[in-house]
Amino acid sequence: MTAQHAVPQVAMEDFGPAVPGWVLRLAIAGVSTAIVAVLGAEGAPPAVQVVFLLLAASSVFSPGSAAPGALGGVGALVSTVYHTGAALAPPVLALVVLVHLLHVGCGLAAVVPPRARLHLFTLYRPLRRFLVVQAAVFALAGLVSVLPDGRNPVTVEVLAVLGVAGLAVLAIVQLRRR
């Protein structure tokens, strides 16, 4: 058998049902609104919520712009201003899921035109990876919740920050190599 015969023949029906591309934008709108709602529940004033709603609208109409990053990143920072409860409170855990979902959804929506047909089988691998990452983060959160509170030694903290910076440098080097 030659290599040419090994190429499988598939039809469009094999990729499962399809939905219009704007459904993805609709999902982003829902996730963005949920993030703003969480911030509102944390106690953010209406003016801040309006600003975040504008960022949410920008994320829906231009998912490839800086708006999703601003909504997720600044939203997380703003939540720390108004959040006064425990670190693993439900609003925080909701933001863990929502910000990640916004990131993945906007990444996909940036390459899918609104009038395109999105075959649902395409979402299988991103969804599986999303669940794996969320499971790892929630496992980390569970681990942290059972650890004793208190201040860490300065050396450990510096090492942790250096480790994060090292990851970023590694990613940049990996990119430049390509």
Binding site: V7, P8, Q9, V10, A11, M12, F15, A18, G21, G64, A66, P68, G69, G72, G73, A76, L77, S79, T80, A87, L88, A89, V92, L93, L95, V96, V99, H100, H103, V104, C106, G107, L108, A110, V111, V112, P113, R115, A116, R117, H119, F121, T122, Y124, R125, P126, R129, F130, V133, V137, L140, A141, E157, V161, V164, L167, A171, Q174, L175, R178
Partner: protein, 486 residues
Amino acid sequence: MSTPLGVALSGRAHRLQQALRRRTGEHWEPTDALRRGLLVGVGLVAFGALSHRLDVLLIGAPLLLSTIAGLTRIPSGPVLVRPLPAPRLVDSMRERQLSVEVDCPAGTEVLALRLPEPGKAGPGRVHVVPAGRYRLSCTRGTDGWGEGVVLRTDHLVSGQDCLTMYGPVVGSAARQIVLPPVDPLPAGPLPPRAAGLVGAHRSRRPGDSTELRDIRPFAPGDRLRRVDWRVSLRAGFPISGGLHVRERHAEADADLLLALDTRVDVGRQLGEWSSALGRPAGSGTAPEQASSLDTAVRAAASLAASYLRQGDRVGLIDLGRPQLYLKPGSGARQLLRLRHRLVLSARSAGWSPRPVLAQQLVPAGATVAVLSPFLDDAVAQLAVVAARRGNLVVAIDVLPRPLVADQETPWGEVVLTLVRAERRARLDGLAWHGVPVLPWPGGTPGGRPGGRPGGRPGEDGGHATAAAMLRRLTSGRRPRLARVVR
């Protein structure tokens, strides 16, 4: 053997190739998602670690983790998305299967690919499917015809979580010639029968067979043995009347010459007449949006198929471009040639301002069917001149109906009235000169046969009427002026 010069040249060629690919989008590049994941993920995790905010760290952790996971499998190398070779010439009546070869490198996840939609014209929609290595088959079955691009594989490929992308790339195009469809026409008033040499209809040309064609007054050149003495005596010969001769049919098949007017292509909207229609004829539009040339080509193909099926000889002449003349012939191969020539004629539409029908291109005794919207006097004069040469000429009116006035100008209704009046006078003139005018209802809503679900071929009233009238006219008897069909 790799010499230093060869290595240098290949490196230079490689860099040149890379530069060209950057210009065409055929290269991998990071997306906003990657920048967002790194910036927001690292920023939140670092801020959380420095400020001892576990909640911020946890919010940023998924972004950083998924970005790092995506960076471990960054795809590289070219993406191959190309249409597989398809037949150059296809029949529009058949459903067309097209295949696209997809070969994406490891690490890719999403492929956005433009594919044609079944039953719709144009390059089609973008479909987002999993990336990989496979052959993707799709169906394209439009009602359109003509030469054009049937598949263009514009594509964009992205890696994990769309952190990197390749494209968008304007893909290579697959061109095909789609032959005009053949609508089934009724068999006509006379059923097919074995007569003449091959076809069901005998030639209208006078000849030396035994079958009587006509009795007419003696003319210089007639043989004396053709004189019908009984009729001549009844007519008063030699006192008051002249000699009469018996004219017989020729031992030849009937010739039908389809004269296609490709100079103009108009639709129902008068406001669009002064500009191009914006779409080529035969692009698979709805029947109520069909242009005059689209209707004419479909009518010509259907008539040719109907007559050729009965063994008659059918030819084609493009009144706007006589070089595309196809002399009358018979058989299935002639139908294929004729449909192909129709596509070529439609492609060169509007080439000439004046219609041309040279006398030497019209066989003696042939029936000439002039397919035109009859918007100018030149084509009407051409039909009349052809009729005066002795041919039976039938004018087939292919103007889409009902015409719609231009709503953007207050003179729209007036212009419509003038156009209708001019056409009425023109068609009346044709009828007065013995040229029957048959309206072909292809441009009217529901005018195409087979359009009614479950309907039998030929049940459509408009086509049945036009085709039956044409058959009656070409069945051998010369039409009288009073029986002109309007």
